[in-house]
């Protein structure tokens, strides 16, 4: 027997009310948990996918759209730029290396990206099996694509028009899988990579384009030689050419601040749930305490000190808060799991890794804080239990 078992015994009354308050607290904390997982995963993804990419050059339009569509593969491209521009950019003395991107098709939700082997270097992607493409219409699959589509080296598949892959099928232009990449934890896992020429060939067949007409690419990803180049090059390109240069780190920060408003709204909603749960707990503990006045008086008669009664009520609140924290973490991870399971396979969101994060220590801390605040008033009331009045009802 100790104060914890006494507190547990105290909670045996009004079990349903206590459980519902813990569930309510769990819902609020679950929302916060999910928010921590999502915002952490978004942050990770923005950092990982943009790693080493200092600049993106593409058609004029929204710089955020350009970065989203080419670095994060999460939006529609702004347009195309002529292939000739690629050489000019790659030979710029301020540029260390770069890779072109040609977008336009997808297979079952996974984008087909025309590029060069330099693109793999941005992500340190290595082949898990097979080999890199040798000729047009060869394809290398990201790890997730291979698993989800059940494709192996030597298999063939056809793409569909449009980056969402919901357009007409390019039946006459099958791709041949030559290699599969090892998982990188980046956007590459969800891409089908092929030489840029594949994209041109498919669309020449499809649109019966003049093979001698000049080719385009969607954008060029660049790694600058110096930090100064990241500042000066965009200015030069934006003012002197018909194209635009966007800085992924700046656009990612802008995106995060836009998302931040949404996250703040969710946080406020979660805050309301948590405050409601705290109030519910306070009311339940106070009401229960009134009903238990005689029990507390009995404990005092048996020798309990006022401090022990105070601590007993605090432990009761902390036990309820602890249950709320466990439920909150469970709800949050369950919701994250459901999000991953239910979102479309190639969707930008599902590239996020919603694993447990160190920042989740906040959940039990928040729960215990709410429990302590809710316990203060009833614990003081317990401390002040008037034994004589509680047992006698009236003085004799």
């Amino acid at each position: 027997m100790n104060l914890v078992s006494l507190s547990l015994a105290g909670l045996r009354g009004n079990r349903l009310t206590h459980l519902l308050n813990s569930v309510l607290l769990g819902l609020g904390l679950g929302t916060i948990t999910l928010m921590l997982l999502v915002s952490g995963a978004i942050g990770d993804r923005l950092t990982r996918d943009a790693h080493g990419i200092d600049l993106v050059v593409g058609a004029k339009g929204s710089p955020l759209q350009l970065v989203l569509s080419t670095v994060f593969q999460a939006d529609i491209p702004t347009g195309n730029i002529p292939l000739a521009e690629l050489d000019t950019l790659l030979h710029n003395p301020m540029i260390d290396h770069g890779a072109p991107l040609a977008l336009g098709d997808a297979v079952k939700g996974f984008r087909i990206v025309g590029t060069t082997p330099d693109y793999l270097d941005f992500y340190g992607a290595k082949l898990a099996q097979g080999q890199i493409w040798q000729q047009p219409m060869d394809a290398v699959l990201g790890a997730t694509v291979a698993v989800r589509l059940g494709l192996n080296t030597g298999d063939s598949f056809v793409g569909a028009h449009g980056v969402a892959g919901n357009g007409e099928m390019h039946e006459g232009s099958p791709y041949h899988v030559t290699g599969i990449l090892a998982p990188t934890g980046s956007v590459v896992d969800r891409l089908v990579l092929t030489p840029v020429e594949s994209v041109w060939l498919v669309h020449e067949h499809h649109h019966r384009q003049d093979p001698d007409a000049g080719h385009d690419v969607t954008a060029v990803l660049l790694h600058a030689k110096t930090p100064l180049a990241i500042v000066t090059l965009p200015f030069q390109i934006n003012s002197q050419t018909n194209y635009q240069a966007a800085v992924p780190s700046i656009e990612a920060a802008r995106l995060f601040s836009t998302l931040g408003f949404g996250l703040a709204t969710v946080r406020a909603f979660a805050g309301i749930l948590i405050v409601s749960a705290g109030l519910g707990m306070l009311i339940a503990l106070t009401t229960r305490l009134r009903e238990r006045r005689r029990e507390l008086a009995m404990l005092r008669l048996l020798g309990a000190t006022p401090r022990q009664l105070f601590v007993m009520v605090v432990i009761e609140a902390l036990l309820l808060a602890g249950l709320g924290a466990i439920l909150g973490l469970a709800f949050g991870h369950l919701a994250a799991w459901a999000m991953e399971a239910l979102l479309p396979a190639g969707d930008a969101m599902t590239v996020m890794d919603l694993h447990a994060r160190a920042s989740e220590w906040l959940i039990p801390a928040l729960a215990l804080g709410v429990g302590l605040i809710a316990a203060i008033i009833p614990a003081i009331a317990a401390y002040r239990t008037d034994v004589a009045a509680a047992l006698a009802g009236s003085h004799d």
Binding site: M1, R12, L299, G303, V387, L391
Partner: protein, 216 residues
């Protein structure tokens, strides 16, 4: 050995007339009844002895130690270790088992929970088989026995009983008093019973009458 000594005690509730209590001394193993009509101060004196009401004037000693002049840690310690309580209407903690009701008394007295000792106390009162039942499942007589077992489990020097026989029929009242008196004598504890039940007088050699303020 003197277990309880009361001298010159007076208590005044706000806005009421003062209550004067007769001087009283109880030796180890002695049994006394504190009798008087409702409002005469029986429960008040029990609370003063237990250190749960602030002593305004006079002096009370339990087992050779002065009861502090108000509720405090020393009073709580004295109460948990030297005094056993048997109450009228709220005999046991309803959400704990009978055994837990005894071990909680041990815990609050600062002693380790000793199941053997607690079961011995229950065995002595013939209810060891009910150790794991909650009070709500017991008959009134069984609850009474469990309450007595809890009062004696810490081997107190003094047992205070507040109206233990009220709402009991004659046979049950006789049985409860026999048990209470028998257990306290067996353990060498002094027993003070606060009651307005005249049946108690048949069992108790010493009567402290509050109405007259004299011990007979």
């Amino acid at each position: 050995m003197t277990v309880l000594a009361i001298s010159n005690v007076r208590y005044t509730y706000p806005g009421r007339l003062p209550i004067s209590f007769p001087d009283c001394v109880l030796e180890a193993g002695a049994v006394a009844a504190l009798v008087g009509p409702s409002g005469s101060g029986k429960s008040t004196l029990l609370m003063l002895i237990a250190g749960l009401l602030k002593l305004q004037t006079g002096h009370i000693e339990v087992a050779g130690k002065a009861v502090e002049t108000g509720p405090g840690a020393a009073g709580d310690r004295l109460r948990s270790r030297s005094i056993g309580m048997v109450l009228q209407s709220f005999q046991l903690l309803p959400r704990l088992t009978i055994l837990e009701n005894l071990t909680v008394a041990q815990f609050l007295a600062g002693r380790p929970a000793d199941h053997t000792l607690a079961l011995d106390a229950l065995e002595a009162l013939g209810i060891a088989d009910l150790a794991h039942e909650i009070p709500g499942r017991l008959s009134r007589g069984q609850v009474q026995r469990a309450s007595i077992a809890r009062a004696v489990v810490n081997r107190p020097d003094l047992i205070l009983a507040d109206e233990p026989t009220s709402s009991l029929d004659d046979a049950a009242a006789d049985g409860a008093l026999d048990l209470l008196i028998g257990e306290s004598r067996k353990r060498g504890a002094a027993l003070l019973i606060a009651t307005h039940d005249s049946r108690v007088k048949r069992h108790v050699p010493t009567i402290v009458a509050l109405a007259t303020g004299k011990a007979k």
